[in-house]
Subunit: 370 residues, 2 copies
Amino acid sequence: MKIKGKHYRTIWEKPGDNTTIRIIDQTLLPHKFEIVNLRTVDDFATAIKDMLVRGAPLIGATAGYGMYIAALNAPKNDYFSDFINISAKKLISTRPTAKNLEWAVNEMIGAIQSENTIDGKIGAALAKARKIADDDVEQCRKIGVYGMDIISEIFQKTGKRVNILTHCNAGWLATVDFGTATSPIYHAFESGIDLHVWVDETRPRNQGAKLTAFELGEQGVPHTVIVDNAGGHLMQHGLVDLVIVGSDRTTRTGDVANKIGTYLKALAAMDNNIPFYAALPSTTIDWEMEDGIKNIPIEERNPDEVRFIDGLNSGEIKNVLVPPEGSPVANFAFDVTPARLVTGLITERGICKADKNSIMELFPEKNEVK
Amino acid sequence: MKIKGKHYRTIWEKPGDNTTIRIIDQTLLPHKFEIVNLRTVDDFATAIKDMLVRGAPLIGATAGYGMYIAALNAPKNDYFSDFINISAKKLISTRPTAKNLEWAVNEMIGAIQSENTIDGKIGAALAKARKIADDDVEQCRKIGVYGMDIISEIFQKTGKRVNILTHCNAGWLATVDFGTATSPIYHAFESGIDLHVWVDETRPRNQGAKLTAFELGEQGVPHTVIVDNAGGHLMQHGLVDLVIVGSDRTTRTGDVANKIGTYLKALAAMDNNIPFYAALPSTTIDWEMEDGIKNIPIEERNPDEVRFIDGLNSGEIKNVLVPPEGSPVANFAFDVTPARLVTGLITERGICKADKNSIMELFPEKNEVK
C-alpha cells in the first residue's frame, strides 16, 4: 500500500542489494516514518522483540528473511548448521507466543536443508523468504476480493456511503500488504465504492488510532477516529452499516479471539442488527478447538501498557502516566467473540458462516484430519 | 470522604472565615492534590468553566456558594440587585448544558429575594448554599444505604468477595460527598463486606482512571483499573458480580443516559446474566421523556479530548497527541442504555425497576404532573 504516495510493503529487499532487508519502524508511527536496515540476525531479533514489526503475518515474514540473512552470514564451513540453529532459536525466542514465527523459521530450515551446497542453501533460503512474503500478500489480496462483495452489496442496496467500523489494526502494517480486515475496505475503495471507516482507537496500545488511521489516511480512505466506547452509540443511531475485524485465533466452530473489546462491538452489532465479520487467513483457524471462551488462553500483558500512553509532545514521542501511581492495573490483551455473534468469516477461500459445517465446507481437507 | 486520611467534602467554607470557599482542583488529580480558595464570583465562574469542579451535583453546589459570594461582594446600595443578576448570568453561562447549574442559581435568587435587608439577604444566601450542599450529601447517603443491600445480598449468597464494575466517575468527587454509583460501594465497604471494584478508565477524559481510582485508593477500597475494552472479557469469565453506573439523565421509562460506553457494558452484563444498576438522585429523571435513544440529545465535544491524553511525565502534567495529526476525530460524550438492559435504578427513595410503573410507584407525586 502507499505511504506519501509511494508503494511499500512492510518488508522488502534493498534495491540492488539483497543482503540488506528493510522494514518500517512501526513504533514511531504515525508521528515519524523511518525505514530501518536489517543486516544481521541480531537486527532481526531486535526488530521483532522491540515490535518495530508486529502482527502475526508480518512477524512470520520477518523471521523468514531473518533466517535467509542467517544463511548469508553463517560461516562457510562445518559451523554453518550450528549458526543456522542458533539463529533459529534466537528468532523464535523473541515473541514466544507467536506460533506463526516458529512456523516460518521451520519452513526456512526445511528450505535450507533441501540443498547440499552453501550457495544452494543461501539461494533456497532467499527463494523461501520471498515466497513466505508473497504468499501472505496473495492470501490478503484474496480476502480483499471476497470481502469487498459484502461492502459492494450494502452499497448497491442503500445507494449511500457505507460506514464500516473496525477495531485494532488488522491492516497492511500487520501483514506484508493489504491487511486482513482492511483488505476488503481497500479493494472496495479502489473500485470506487463510497465508504467511510470508524476507527476504534483500541486501548491500551492504540493500534487503531496510531496504525489503522495512519494507513487509511495515506490511502486517502475517509475515516474518523473514535474512542472504543463510542461504537454502540454510533450503531444505535444508524451510523454503522458493517463491522469488520481481524482474528488472532478462530475455533473450528467459529469463535473469534481478537483484540480486547471486539466482543463488546459484536454485542452492539447484534443488538442493532448490523453484520459483523471477521477477516482472517485460514492459518489462524485452530482445527482442534471447539469452545473458544473456555479454551483460548488470554494473554495478560504488562500493566504499564495501560498506565502509560505515548504520543507526540513538542515534536518528541513521550509517555504520560494516567492513573494514580499506586492503583493496581490489569491488562488483558484479547477477548473471545462467540460464533453466535459473528455473521461470517472472510477467508482466502471465500466467505462462510461462523459455524463448524460452513467452515468445513470451505476447507474440506481439514475434515479428514478430525 | 477521605484524602490522605483526612475527611473532605468537595466544597467547604474556610474554617473561621466563611467569606472564602474552598474546592479541590480536580484537573490536577490524581497526580497533584491542590486546594483552591474562591473569593469572587469570577473565581467561581472560572472554577466551573475550567472544570476544577465537575459533575452535575457539585456544579450545582458550587454555583450555590458562588451566588452567596455574589451577595457578600455586591455593593450595599441600589446596585445590589444588578450585581446579583449579572453574577447569576455569569455563573449560568459557564456550562450552558448543565441544568443543575441553572436550578441552583435560581434557588439562590429566590433565597436572596426572600429577605428585605442586605444583611438578611446575605444570611439567607449562606443558609441556602449550605442547604444545597447538605441536601446533596443526604441524597447520596441514602442512595448508598439503599444500594448497599444489593451488594450485601450478593455477598450473603456467594460468601465470596463481590466484584463490582463501574464506568466513569459517579463518585464523591462529582458530588459534595459519597457520590452516586460509589455510595453503595463505600457503604458496603465500611460495613465490612469484602469487595473489589473494576474501574473502567473511561476514555476519552479518563475520569475512571484519574478520579474513581484515586477516590477508591484514598478510601482503601480494593480496585483495579482496566481499559474500557476489558469489561466484556471479565464478565464472560465470572469476574464481575455486579455493575453500578451513574446517570446524567434518566427517562420516566427507565432509559439511562450516561458516559459514552455505558451501553456496551450493559449489553455485556445482559449477555452474561449480571445485574446492571444505575444509581441516581431523582433530580436526574426527566419526567416528560419516554424514548431516551430517540430524544436525549448527545453532546459532541471537542475532538482534542480524544486526540490528546494528559498525564504525568517527569513530575509535570503534559499531554501527548495519539492519532495522526491529519486524521478526523469524533467525540460523542454520552450514550443511552435502553431500560430493557437495566436491572434497576437506585434512588434516594429506594430501588425500583427501570420501567414507568416502578418509577412512578416510588415517586407517586410525579404521576399527577403527567
